[in-house]
Amino acid sequence: MSNLVAVQGLVKHYKGFTLDQIDLTVPEGEIVGLIGENGAGKTTTIKAILGVIHPDGGTIQVMGKDPGDRTALEKVGVVFEDSYFYGGLNAHQVDRILSGIRRDWDSDKFRKDCNAFDLDMKKPIKDFSRGMRMKLSLTTALASHPRLLLMDEATSGLDPVIRGEILDIFLTFIQDEGCGILLSSHITTDLERVADQIAYIHRGKLLFQQGKDALLEETAVVRGSAAVLDRLPQELVLVRRDGGLSGSAALVKDGAAARRLLPDAVIDRTSIDEMMQLYGGREEA
């Protein structure tokens, strides 16, 4: 299985923020969920992959080409939260415009998908609801038969029904083994549903990229007093948070091992949300 995206040592400096040594891959046939707090560097990473910004260091390959390579971009579909066509245009005009830009643009598919989503081809984009705009963006991204989808907060602000429809599209898209998706989202339940891997960016650094199932099955949260958590070996603890409203908690890399060591402690399965909360307010383990 080869990588559709391979990022190595990506560095980008801004005033007050640095994206630092990011290593990330999007393998064929997989959905990689990119998580992180607001301002952690998710959008910056996606922009660097697309060649929208110029990195200060590291290498990026998109289907074996440099970011911004036109032949690679022919095979990439993108949904940004806040970048698209001018709102005075309608879907019919978007179709005509992109048929003159993208070699593999499939007008029939675009119109069919718009129809399936109940998107009025003649209605100005600015009159669409947010959910409809995101559907149009997604329909646009899919109409050129891409191999790679890059989605930046594509499901944020949408109701569960529309999010469900969009996630179903992702799952259908990924049926083709040669395709892949990089999906950044704050809605971790969406990622738990569809992602194969989770990559977590925290304050400009990639904490991990790991298979979702292994991550959620192997890790666990140990709850208890500081004295209880002190009994955990350092090498088992990924992150620990003391003095929260519900007492202290530690994310451990091997829940089964923690259960053996602390049979009387409260040990729960973890969720991506909780993982982020623990890392977000972390104190060094």
């Binding site: 929208v52 940004f80 066509f85 005075g88 003159g100 830009i101």
Partner: protein
């Protein structure tokens, strides 16, 4: 490129689809009623400035970022904007020429050379003004570019009002006017070439600025 051009034209049309036909009728009526070519010239100038509005549409919808994800290069993205300005100004000049001819046919006046010369002059000056604004707009945004150029033009006109009489003594303006009257085609060709040279230079500068931009 065809798609980018469509995008520019569709965006501007969706913005001005009521204004443009209204202005076209208004200027035609005013021209015929007053027998004054000023409105034809003003139309050319207006259209060139209208064509710049595509940049503010882009800024409002984050087009720059989206465009970078499409299989087009920066020369094409910027080139589409310059082409649209050319189409708008050329269209307005052609419309002005047709209206001017109709007006002359109705009134029995001649002065076709004045009409063509006037349209050419306003076309050249407007092209230089607008194309010079593009690199500044790509660098600082359209609003700042417009405000900056307004200050420059006010300063230029103010300076001319204040020091025009002194300049007339220093510069050989009369000789220039005489030369223009004697060799109108040479001057017209020179002016047009200057405008084209400015356009090419501004296009290159705009692309270089656009390439460095991050969205």
């Amino acid at each position: 490129m065809r798609g980018l051009l469509r995008k520019e034209l569709s965006g501007l049309w969706s913005l001005y689809r009521k204004t443009l036909p209204m202005l076209a009728i208004l200027y035609a009526v005013l021209n015929l009623a007053t027998k004054n070519d000023f409105f034809l010239y003003f139309g050319v100038w207006m259209m060139l400035f209208y064509s710049l509005s595509g940049m503010s549409l882009d800024e409002s919808c984050g087009w720059g970022r989206y465009a970078r994800t499409l299989p087009v290069n920066d020369w094409q993205v910027v080139g589409a904007k310059f082409l649209v300005s050319l189409i708008y100004s050329g269209g307005a000049a052609l419309y002005g020429a047709v209206l001017g001819v109709i007006q002359r046919l109705f009134t029995g006046e001649t002065g076709y050379a004045d009409l063509i010369g006037g349209l050419l002059a306003v076309l050249v000056v407007s092209m230089i003004m607008v194309f010079a604004m593009y690199p500044v707009a790509f660098r600082f945004g359209l609003e700042k570019a417009r405000n900056g150029f307004l200050v420059v033009w006010v300063a230029l006109f103010g300076g001319f009002m204040l020091f025009g009489s002194r300049l007339a003594k220093v510069l050989p303006l009369e000789a220039v006017v005489e030369s223009m009257a004697a060799r109108p085609l040479l001057w017209a060709g020179g002016a047009l070439l200057t405008a084209v040279a400015v356009m090419v230079l501004c296009y290159i500068a705009s692309v270089l600025i656009y390439q460095k931009k991050e969205f």
